[in-house]
Every structure is written in C-alpha cells, then in structure tokens.
Amino acid sequence: MIRIEDLNKAFGKHQVLRGINLTFEEGQSVALIGPNGSGKTTLIKALLGLVVVKGKIWVGGSLIQGESEYRRKIGYMPQMSRFPDNMTVKQLFSMMKDLRKDLKPGDLDYDLYDAFEIDQMASKRLSILSGGMKQKVSAALAFLFDPPILILDEPTAGLDPVSNEVLKDKLKKEVSKGKLVLITSHILSDLDEITTHVAYLMDGELRFFKSLDQLKNETAESRLNRIIAQVLNQENAYV
C-alpha cells in the first residue's frame, strides 16, 4: 500500500534520512521507533508530502511527488496541534467536513468523536483547550474520514490513561478491518498490544523492519521494550 524507495533527505548538510527502503501492506500496524532525531517525523512528513525529498514514494500504487489527491487515503494526527485561536471545536469539524465534500455523511467515522465526548466541548474555542484535549480533537479528526491509512505521530503523549486505552482499542479495531496504521512513539509499552511490525530507525538509517512474531522468535522475549533492547545489544555485539 505504501512503498518507499531509496528515500534521502538532508536539511542543509545534516543528513536526516539515508537510503530508506520500506514496503507497508494493508492490515499491518507498524511501530516506527528510534531515538530522538532519528528521522521518524521526517519520514512521516515525507509520506504526507510536507518535505521535499530525494527518492520515490508510492501510496496506493501511485507516485506521490507533487500530488495532493492521494492524501484522501491518509488520516494524520500530528505530534503537536495548534488551531486558529478564535475558532470553536464545532467550526473546526464543520470546516474539515467542508473540505471533504466527496464523502457522504454516512461515510464518516464518529467512534472517537463520541468516545472522547467532543460534542461536549463543541462550543469551546480551540485556544482554551488543554494540550490533552487538543490531542483528542486531532485524533478524532484523523479518524473522521475513515481513511485506509492512518499515520499517528506520538499519539499517546498528552492523553490520559482512559483516553489512551480508547485510542488503542480503536486502532486495534481499524487494523483488524485491514487498514494500515503507522505509529511513532517512545512509550513502547503503549505499542505492545497494537503493533504487528516494527521499523527501527537510527541516524536516518533503517536498522530493521520485521514482524513482531519474528522478533519474538529471534529474541525469545515477549515485551516490546525487552525485544528492542536485546536486538540493539546483539547488533552492537557484532560491531
């Protein structure tokens, strides 16, 4: 569904992504992990066409360079959200729905909208919402159009434990429906139950991309943070 070929990106002299090759299929839930500054967010931005990169990316079979229509297939929840100050939550949602007139009202997915009780804050202005509430709004927005690809950048960072579980359940449901989910997070325990594959980035290079089952077999560990620690130790041992 997404194919990335020889992706390179440099900001000035600083090389952020080096020769990334990846293929993601439907029904996969990929955890994109790596230390700070390893290029995770840049990779996501490249998928969304927000940065100009060298290399090729296909989404749903077509090259994305210079295109905008392919983003109909993607729901994106950014790391940090900021909305126009004087806009209310209700206006934000009605604006977003206005932008996507191709969808019928029945096609919209209100699961998270209802679960996060966004209707109750509909009349509030976005500037007075707390960080966590903004995260809820942007999560609900990402799922609203029922896109086949979901990209979430640090989705759990500002959410309270209850909302966190709601979001995870929703993600599990969407993956079982055959959607592709890409998540970055530093909280590996959050990713444990929802991922099927792990892509590990370091210094802009892809260290490995394997399924969780394969990793479990190789390391004889069951928890994601132990697995990662062990894989990294093994790699260091070879160097």
């Binding site: 969304l48 927000l50 905008s68 983003r71 950014p78 900021r82 126009p84 932008l99 927005l141």
Partner: protein, 255 residues
C-alpha cells in the same frame, strides 16, 4: 479555496486586534475632521496617519498570524489540498479581513464627511498598501523558519519603505540639486509603494501647489488619468510580485 478563506475570515473578524484597528481608524478619521477646520488639512493628517499605520499594523499582524497558523497549515496540508490553495486562502482571508476593516474604519468617515475624488483615491491607496504589506509579511514568514527572524525581516521591510527609502531620496535630491532630476525622482518613487501612494493622494489636494518645481512635474503626471491609473497599476504590481515569489517559495518549502 473559498471554503478555507471563509473560515480564515471568520477567525480574523473575531480577532480583537482587527476590531481595534478598525475602531482606531474610524476614531482617527472622524477625529481629524472634528479637530481640523479645513477639510484639506484633515485629509493631510489622515493621509500621514494611514501611511504610517496601515503598513505597520498589516505587516506585523500578518507575520504573527502566519507563524501562529503554521501547525494548522501543516494539518491542512495533510488533507487533499494543494499548497497553493492553502496559501492562497490565507492571503485572501487576510486581505479580505483587513480590507473590510479599512473600508469600514476609514471609508465611513471619509465618504461621509468628504465625499470627493481625494477620499476615493486615499481609500484605494490604503487598500493597495494593505495588500502589498500582507504579501510582504507572508514572504517574510515563508522565507524564515524562525519566528523571531521572520518578525525581524518584516520590521525591516516596514522601516525600509517608511523611513530609510525617504532618507535615500532626500540625500539624492540634496546632492544632485544642481541637476534637473525631478523626472528621475518621479520614477524612483515607483520603487516604494508608500511614497507612491503618498504622492498620488497629495497631488489631488491643494498642497500640491506648495511643492515647487518638482511638485509641478508631479502634478502634471499624477493629474493625468493615465498617471493615476499607471500608479495604481504599479501599486498592483507591488502587491502581486511578493505574492508570486511567496507562492513559488512555498511550493518547495520543507514544513
């Protein structure tokens, strides 16, 4: 695109700075007419205020607005929208909001108390300056990733067009006063939208008679219909050029 600008306009028209700007313009407009006995003097006062205030408020506010909207622009660009649509809506939204604030705030006193050609030209000039300085603000914002640097560039634009440029012209006129440079000065003013606007309005008032030989040359030029339309056209170019450059830069920008 119009959907998006509609929301930008809704957002801006509820912004207290835009409302304050409109209120201040209206107060100043009526105030000058109340305080000055002569209409011409009042017009000169309003002209000087407008030429100082309109560029400053629009460029500073628009730069800050661009940086405040940055994350939202990124979110919009994750939707199936073209980059030029998003930037275009923001430019249109800012222009319409500030244009409305100006037309109501300044247009009301001018057209009520002095319905004449000068008022119409003053309104047109300040409207064009609004467009020019919003475009310059977006250019600065897109140019510099860092908010502080973007603000710096914007302020530099303002200081240059309002102060430094005039200084250079004065120096030029002083040093070359022995030569017939009036005609060249006329064309040099085309390089500054603020000065161009100032002269365009001044030449419609009685004050033009006080400006000596260069005043006479200016007067001849700017009272011809093609002089007026030509200068308005140059002002349009001044608005379009930075817009065109910012669209080009925005297309390849890393967000």
């Amino acid at each position: 695109m119009f959907n998006l600008s509609k929301f930008v306009i809704q957002d801006l028209l509820r912004n207290w700075i835009v409302l304050l700007y409109m209120g201040f313009l209206m107060l100043a407009g009526f105030g000058f007419f109340m305080l000055e006995g002569q209409v011409d003097k009042a017009m000169l006062g309003i002209l000087n205020l407008v030429l100082l205030l309109v560029p400053m408020v629009t460029i500073i506010f628009s730069t800050i607005y661009y940086y405040n909207m940055y994350e939202f622009i990124v979110l919009l660009l994750a939707q199936p929208l073209k980059r030029r649509t998003v930037l275009g809506s923001i430019y249109l939204g800012l222009s319409v909001s500030f244009g409305l604030a100006l037309l109501i705030g300044l247009g009301l006193p001018l057209l009520l108390l002095n319905p004449s050609l000068v008022s119409v030209i003053l309104l047109l000039v300040s409207l064009m300056l609004t467009l020019v300085f919003i475009a310059l603000a977006l250019l600065a914002g897109i140019w510099a990733r860092d908010k502080a640097r973007g603000m710096g560039i914007s302020l530099l634009f303002w200081v240059y067009f309002v102060l430094i440029f005039d200084g250079i012209i004065l120096m030029l006129m002083y040093n070359f006063s022995d030569y017939p440079i009036e005609r060249s000065v006329l064309f040099i003013t085309f390089l500054n939208p603020v000065d161009l606007g100032r002269i365009l309005v001044l030449m419609q008032t009685e004050a033009a008679a006080l400006m000596g030989y260069s005043g006479a040359i200016f007067n001849k030029f700017f009272n011809d219909w093609w002089g007026i339309w030509g200068s308005l056209l140059v002002l349009c170019l001044w608005a379009l050029a930075p817009v065109a450059v910012s669209f080009r830069m925005f297309r390849h920008k890393d967000l």
